[in-house]
Each structure stands twice: as structure tokens, then as C-alpha cells.
């Protein structure tokens, strides 16, 4: 298991500075969520950590290793509908293993176990279009877990789901994570999701994107969904919202 450290990362597109001197670390097995207003460069940051894009300056390390291209230690969970429509559930989940030349035969049982773990046993031969949005995201998650990464990078994976399904998927993710203890960097714009899932919540400012706040979430695990209805939870969400509101006001409206 390895952690992630990001140090002094800058990135600009055209003439706009998107990320300015972004530094943070996620320890081994830590669950970190990043929240911030839209357009603050959250996704760009995550893509740089994964090595899908290069920062203009600064460095990203997974454990001790400096990231320079798509990182073998990471698996990226994209937003909704990033499944190959021509592959069945099983073959979609297998894609990462295929591309990383993992022995498919040796890992066959593990893949079946994994599909069971994310609640997809019996759906192996379905095509994505036959699945609901929540189930498609389960496949997405299974595909990422299948390569047994040290670090899971999740880019608003539940954003396209309806409110109930989203809450179910949150508890699901925590259940799976509690068994595997990957390091997770999870982007969201839902504050309650960020607080409910995380050990630490990072708040990003925008134009350019900087880390504006770093909040440790004190609630013990395992966490029940009812935690969201408690006063302490509400206060923490309120505090984070205050920071984001400040950021939005400073940078001029939504």
C-alpha cells in the first residue's frame, strides 16, 4: 500500500492558470475527498495524479515513485458511462487487467469474487445498456479494483446518480474500502458525500485552483448513513460550505 503526495503542482491551459502551487498528501490507506466549486481544477488535479496529464511544474509521487505517465499503482474511476458498450460486465471489469498484462486465467476467480463484492454476481454477461446507472458505476469500480491498485482516484463517480442510489453507493464504497483499505482520492461537489466518506476533506479554491482548507473528519468508522442526520455532521458541512462560499464570492459568482 502506498500514499500519494502532491508537491507544488502548477497547470495552465491556454492563458488561464488552472492549478497554482497545489500541495497535499494522502497517507497510506487514507480516504481523502476534494471539494470545490465547479471549474476549480479538481478533475485536472486528479488526472495529473494519475499521469493522464502532466503538470507544468511540481511533482506527484505514489509512495516513493515519481509519476511520469499513467501510473501502474493507480486506478481511475471515471464519471458515469465510461464502460465500453461492446463489452459485457465481465469483460469490462477485465479491461484493466488485460491492458496491464495481468494473467487473466490466474485472476479469473478473483474477478468473479470482485463482481460479487460490488453486487454484480449474476450480471456478468449483461451489456452496459441493460444496466441502471448505479450498476454501471459498480462495474466501473470493479474494473478499477481488479488491477489491485494502491491508490483509487475517483472523479465524481456518483454525480450522475439519483439521490437514493448515491447514498447506497456511498455505503457500498465504504464497505468495500473497509475490506481493502486502498488510498482513495475522491472528488465530489456534494459536501455531505465528502464528509461522510472521508478521513480528510480538502477544499479547493478556484481561478487559480489552490488548496483553501484541509479538514480532518473526526467521526469514527464504521459510519452509518444516520450519521448524516446528526448535528455534528451538519456543523462540519456548514463550516466547509462557509469556506466554499467565501471562495466563490472572492472569485466572482458561480
Amino acid at each position: 500500500m502506498r500514499g500519494v503526495s502532491v508537491h507544488g503542482v502548477y497547470k495552465s491551459f491556454g492563458n488561464g492558470l488552472v492549478l497554482q502551487d497545489v500541495s497535499f498528501a494522502a497517507g497510506e490507506g487514507e480516504f481523502v475527498t476534494i471539494v470545490g466549486p465547479s471549474g476549480c481544477g479538481k478533475t485536472t488535479l486528479l488526472r495529473i495524479i494519475d499521469g493522464l496529464e502532466q503538470g507544468d511544474a511540481g511533482e506527484v509521487r505514489i509512495g516513493e515513485r515519481l509519476v511520469s505517465g499513467p501510473a501502474r499503482e493507480c486506478a481511475f474511476v471515471f464519471q458515469a458511462d465510461s464502460l465500453m458498450p461492446w463489452r459485457t460486465v465481465y469483460d469490462n471489469a477485465k479491461l484493466g487487467m488485460e491492458l496491464r498484462n495481468m494473467d487473466e486465467k490466474a485472476n479469473k476467480d478473483r474477478l468473479s469474487e470482485l463482481l460479487k463484492l460490488v453486487g454484480l454476481a449474476g450480471f456478468e454477461r449483461y451489456y452496459p445498456r441493460q444496466l441502471s446507472g448505479g450498476m454501471r458505476q459498480r462495474v466501473n469500480l470493479a474494473r478499477a479494483l481488479a488491477v489491485d491498485p494502491d491508490v483509487l482516484l475517483m472523479d465524481e463517480p456518483f454525480a450522475a446518480l439519483d439521490a437514493q442510489t448515491r447514498e447506497i453507493m456511498q455505503t457500498e464504497l465504504l464497505r468495500i474500502w473497509s475490506g481493502q483499505r486502498k488510498t482513495v482520492v475522491f472528488i465530489t461537489h456534494q459536501l455531505d458525500e465528502a464528509v461522510y466518506l472521508a478521513d480528510r476533506v480538502l477544499v479547493m479554491g478556484r481561478k487559480p485552483g489552490v488548496i483553501a482548507d484541509d479538514i480532518t473528519v473526526p467521526f469514527p468508522r464504521p459510519r452509518e448513513l444516520s450519521l448524516k442526520r446528526t448535528g455534528e455532521f451538519g456543523q462540519l458541512v456548514e463550516r466547509i460550505w462557509g469556506t466554499i462560499e467565501g471562495v466563490i464570492r472572492e472569485t466572482g459568482g458561480i
Partner: protein, 291 residues
């Protein structure tokens, strides 16, 4: 269906943290839908068959009682008879073989070249700049007008007809293939790259599959155009083939045999289009029979 399966999933999810053997959501909710689809399929075949029967009967009635002159309009029965007499004279078999060879060779070569060129211009900007004026020019012009020239250059035999067919099939296929590869979803390419895929692997695992339905659509367009190429090529000058037979029948005012030739082309069109639908269902089951 979506809601159903999600709720089914939900039952096993919360509360039983960590247990790996949580029961699967067990409602394959699209079972009843597929039965309904089967009913639809049956009734749509029945409707098509009925439409053909009604059409043929009308044709027979109009030909026999309203027109009453086989010089203007041969009836279905006379057409059948025409087919029979061509068969027993032995010309039909020979003509079918020649036309069939022209069609199959032209269609396969034209489609293969179209797929190859479409792929090249989708992947290489310089090649696209060089070739696209020619491609859009040839695609937009009635290329069939070139048939007499091709026959003049390559003679009355089958090679000139194969070239006519190729020239008709190739351009739509280039355009479909190029569109398929160019529109490949960027997120899906990113997914492959994030797992370390090389450019070649992105092509192999994502772009080929994404463009497959486009290529198949190009093939379907090509079938009709290839049949046109065979007939027109043979009408302009040939020494064998179904188009040649149609031309002869016309000069002899033998309407039953003329209609027989046309009917055979129509049947070939239906059969090949159907075969391609089957091919689509086998190669791209995820893309066909969308609800």
C-alpha cells in the same frame, strides 16, 4: 427496469458491511421485454410477408386485366415463366455466375479499400488533407457516369464491371469508417490510457469497436450501390451477365425475360441486405436491436 434492478441491489447493500457473499440482485428485468420483442418480430415478419403477397397479387391483377398486354407489363406469372425459359436455355446460370462474380469481387475489394483508406485518413491528418477533396468530390458526383469510360479502358469483360462496382462502393465506406473512428468517445480512450494502453492498444481496444457499427452501415449502403454498379456496367457494354440479359430482352421486346432480370436483382438486394443484418447481429450485438 432501471429502478427495479437498483432496488433489488439495494436490499443486500447497507447494514451487511463487509460480507463478501451478499446475494446478487436477482431480477434480470429484461426477460419479459425480450418476449414482447419476439412477438413484435413475429408480427413484423408477418406484415412484411403480407405486404409482398398483396403487392404481387395487385401486380398480377393489373397486368392481366387492366393492361392485358405483356409488351407493356409482364405479370408475375409471365416473369416466372421467363425465369424458367432462361434457366432451361442455360443462359441464366451463366449470367448469374458472371454478375455474381462482379458483385462479390467488386463489393469485397471496394469495401476493404474503403475501410483501409477511411482508417488512414482518420488517423493521419496529412493524408486527410491530401485525399479529402478527391473523396468528397467523387462521393458527390454521380460516379456511375464514369462507367462508359471504364468500359472503354478495360474492355467488355468482368474487370471493367468490377471497377465500376468498386468505384461505387468505396466512397461511402471511406466516409463511414472515417466518421466512426473520428467520433470515438474520448473518455473511453482515456479509460484505456489510464490503464497504460499504447496508441495501438487504444486503436485495438476502443476505436475499432466504436467504429464497427459505422463500418457495418457502410457495408449496407454498399450492397445497394454494388448491385446498381453491376447492372449499369453491364448495360453500357458487356458480353455476359444479368444486365446484359436485360439489355438483350429489351431489344427483343421480351418483357417476361426483362422483368425476370430485374426481379432477380431485387431478390438479390433483399437477400444481401438481410445477410448483412445477420452479420450485424453477430458482430455487434450491443449496437443492434436497441429498444
Amino acid at each position: 427496469m432501471d429502478d427495479l434492478t437498483e432496488t433489488a441491489g439495494a436490499q443486500v447493500l447497507p447494514r451487511d458491511t463487509g460480507s463478501a457473499d451478499s446475494r446478487p440482485p436477482e431480477i434480470p428485468a429484461n426477460k419479459p421485454r425480450s418476449r414482447r420483442r419476439e412477438n413484435n418480430k413475429f408480427s413484423s415478419i408477418a406484415i412484411s410477408t403480407a405486404a409482398i403477397v398483396v403487392g404481387v397479387v395487385l401486380w398480377q391483377v393489373i397486368g392481366q386485366f387492366l393492361v392485358g398486354n405483356s409488351l407493356f407489363l409482364a405479370t408475375p406469372l409471365q416473369t416466372l415463366h421467363g425465369i424458367g425459359s432462361m434457366w432451361s436455355a442455360g443462359t441464366l446460370q451463366k449470367d448469374l455466375l458472371v454478375s455474381g462474380e462482379e458483385f462479390i469481387l467488386g463489393f469485397i475489394i471496394g469495401s476493404a479499400l474503403g475501410i483501409a483508406i477511411g482508417t488512414i485518413i482518420a488517423k493521419n491528418r496529412v493524408m486527410k488533407r491530401i485525399l479529402s477533396p478527391y473523396i468528397s468530390g467523387f462521393y458527390a458526383t454521380p460516379i456511375i457516369a464514369l462507367a462508359p469510360i471504364l468500359i472503354l479502358w478495360f474492355g467488355l469483360g468482368i474487370s471493367s464491371k468490377i471497377l465500376v462496382v468498386i468505384s461505387l462502393v468505396i466512397f461511402p465506406q471511406i466516409i463511414s469508417t472515417e466518421a466512426g473512428i473520428r467520433t470515438t468517445d474520448e473518455t473511453l480512450q482515456d479509460v484505456a490510457r489510464s490503464y497504460g494502453a499504447s496508441t495501438l492498444q487504444v486503436f485495438e481496444k476502443v476505436e475499432i469497436w466504436w467504429s464497427l457499427p459505422y463500418v457495418l452501415a457502410g457495408l449496407r449502403l454498399g450492397v445497394g450501390r454494388a448491385l446498381i454498379g453491376v447492372v449499369v456496367g453491364e448495360l453500357f457494354g458487356a458480353n455476359a451477365g444479368l444486365g446484359f440479359a436485360i439489355n438483350n430482352a429489351q431489344s427483343e421486346f421480351n418483357m417476361p425475360q426483362l422483368f425476370a432480370g430485374v426481379a432477380i436483382f431485387a431478390i438479390a438486394g433483399i437477400v444481401f441486405t438481410y445477410l448483412l443484418t445477420v452479420l450485424e447481429r453477430v458482430l455487434a450485438p450491443w449496437a443492434t436491436n436497441r429498444p
